[in-house]
């Protein structure tokens, strides 16, 4: 085992945490929108949210490269404004994980928000809470279990991201070699011990998530 065995673990956790932080606020806003509002185009938004879940991750990666590449619309803008390049950087790993984890976040948080009784929000409004404080002080605390479950699942999905990350962030040792990429590389190189380390860490993490997530499912009458 080389000195860098711990790096992919730390990198993966950091990338996943940043990915969840990145999609948390817009993801919850989107979940609220889909749960509480009826507007034209709502079904289309629903479909677009689900798309990254259904698309092969390599296809998601391809789209990201096209968008964020040096000739892509976002990539060009970033380069012109900040002289920043995204492809094959840790930032790309964060974006790839975020896009792939977003459907899980939205689709888990949405029913939790739907389950918040209208009465609570209506009383909150009558007590002087505007839309933002209503969400922060009523909706979110009332749906916290489902919202936490959504975050946990999104984090787990982000940690495990492989295909889109490989396409978009590459496998740059010391920069973008997250656990799943490192596992594949170790396996290919015949370094079974190293492969087993990441298999162990990723399995333990996943097990913890599936044990934790159901305990967070909304229960009737839970306070």
């Amino acid at each position: 085992m080389s000195t860098g065995a711990g790096f992919p673990i730390a990198l993966s956790l950091r990338v996943a945490a940043l990915a969840v932080a990145l999609i948390g606020p817009p993801g919850l806003a989107l979940a609220w929108l889909q749960a509480r509002r009826r507007y034209p185009g709502r079904t289309l938004v629903d479909a677009l949210v689900l798309l990254p879940l259904v698309l092969p991750p390599t296809v998601v990666g391809y789209f990201l490269v096209v968008l964020f590449g040096r000739r892509g619309p976002i990539g060009r803008a970033l380069e012109a404004l900040f002289d920043a390049r995204v492809v094959f950087t840790p930032a790309a790993a964060v974006i790839a994980s975020a896009v792939v984890a977003l459907p899980l976040l939205v689709k888990t948080a949405q029913p939790a928000i739907e389950a918040v009784p209208d009465e609570l929000e209506e009383v909150g409004r009558s007590l002087g809470l505007g839309p933002a404080s209503l969400f922060a002080r009523v909706t979110l605390p009332a749906a916290w279990q489902g919202v936490t479950a959504a975050m946990v699942l999104a984090f787990a999905r982000a940690v495990g991201e492989f295909g889109a990350t490989l396409m978009f962030a590459g496998n740059v040792p010391g920069r973008t070699n997250t656990m799943p990429l490192e596992l594949y590389a170790a396996w290919q190189a015949g370094d079974d011990a190293r492969a087993l380390l990441y298999v162990g860490v990723l399995s333990a993490l996943s097990l913890a998530v599936v044990l934790l997530a159901p305990r967070l499912a909304p229960r009737a009458g839970a306070a």
């Binding site: 609570l120 209506e122 009383v123 409004r125 009558s126 007590l127 505007g130 002080r137 009458g221």
Partner: protein
């Protein structure tokens, strides 16, 4: 309630709203006209008559197609002038029928929920008095899940009153509470509203409840509000007619009834001298109201 006590004091509520909800064959149209100088106005009528929808329009939770809502002289909604103050700026208290306490907060935190941040930390004297008045001072630290139905509605009432609303709206708040408990809550609510001089609109389909609380009553029928009047006047025909000891006289035009009484659990209601009573047979619809 007689004429205005003070001509300079605007009425607690003046409203005329036309609301349509639903679509296609499911459309429900409401036409309501309400005035309340002060005190308690009860909206009385069967389920599905539009009473709750009226409250929602007053609170700004549904938007009327036409009409206006004025509370204490301030226009909160006016379709013609395009005025529509959002619910959170209306200063209207809301006590819904179903349990509405924030389950993640204690009783004290629920009651202080609508207050500025500084007053949410510790119960001040004003809030303590309010909890005392409603008999829930001992429950300040309790979680809603551990409270009885009656206690929860007292907390909901305290929470609405703590924010000092200009108008309090109560939508059958005691519907799920058993009869004896309900009578106790009527006394408590009436006394508390009087002490705080808080004008209120109360929705019910229970004639006893209406009689126990109302200064004025408006009767609802199929999406329309009737004329408002004194409780005994408006509610007279909501009570069973007792023919005990009554004399029936057959006259030229029909039957006359002398000495009949209208009896309800809250006591007998007199029928005015030469008063007319319309007797109708109907089964009360028990559909939940939207």
């Amino acid at each position: 309630m007689s004429a205005r006590p003070d001509a300079a004091t605007p009425p607690a509520l003046e409203a005329r709203v036309h609301v349509r909800v639903g679509r296609g064959a499911e459309v429900f149209a409401l036409d309501a006209e309400l005035t309340l100088e002060r005190g308690v106005l009860v909206l009385f009528g069967p389920s599905g008559a539009g009473k709750s929808l009226t409250l929602r329009a007053l609170a700004g939770l549904v938007r009327p197609e036409r009409g206006f809502v004025r509370v204490a002289g301030e226009t909160l909604f006016d379709a013609e002038r395009g005025a529509d103050v959002p619910t959170h700026r209306r200063g209207i208290g809301w006590v819904p029928q179903r349990d509405s306490l924030f389950p993640f907060r204690s009783t004290a935190e629920n009651v202080a929920f609508g207050l500025p941040r500084a007053r949410r930390r510790v119960l001040d004297a004003e809030l303590r008095t309010l909890l005392d008045e409603l008999g829930i001072a001992g429950l300040a630290e309790a979680r809603p899940a551990s409270l009885s139905g009656g206690e929860r509605q007292r907390v909901a009432l305290a929470r609405a009153l703590a924010a000092r609303p200009r108008l309090l709206l109560l939508d059958e708040p005691f519907a799920s509470i058993d009869r004896p408990g309900r009578a106790e809550l009527w006394r408590l609510l009436r006394a508390t509203l009087d002490r705080h001089a808080a004008p209120a609109v109360f929705v019910t389909h229970d004639a006893d409840e209406a009689l126990a609380l109302a200064d004025r009553v408006v009767r609802y029928e199929r999406g329309r509000s009737g004329k408002d009047g004194a409780p005994r006047e408006i509610l007279a025909d909501a009570y069973p007619l007792s023919l005990d000891g009554a004399v029936v006289e057959a006259g030229g035009a029909g039957l006359a009834l002398r000495g009949a009484r209208l009896a309800g659990p809250a006591g007998a209601l007199p029928i005015a001298e030469r008063g007319r009573v319309r007797v109708a047979l109907r089964t009360p619809p028990e559909r939940p109201e939207r």
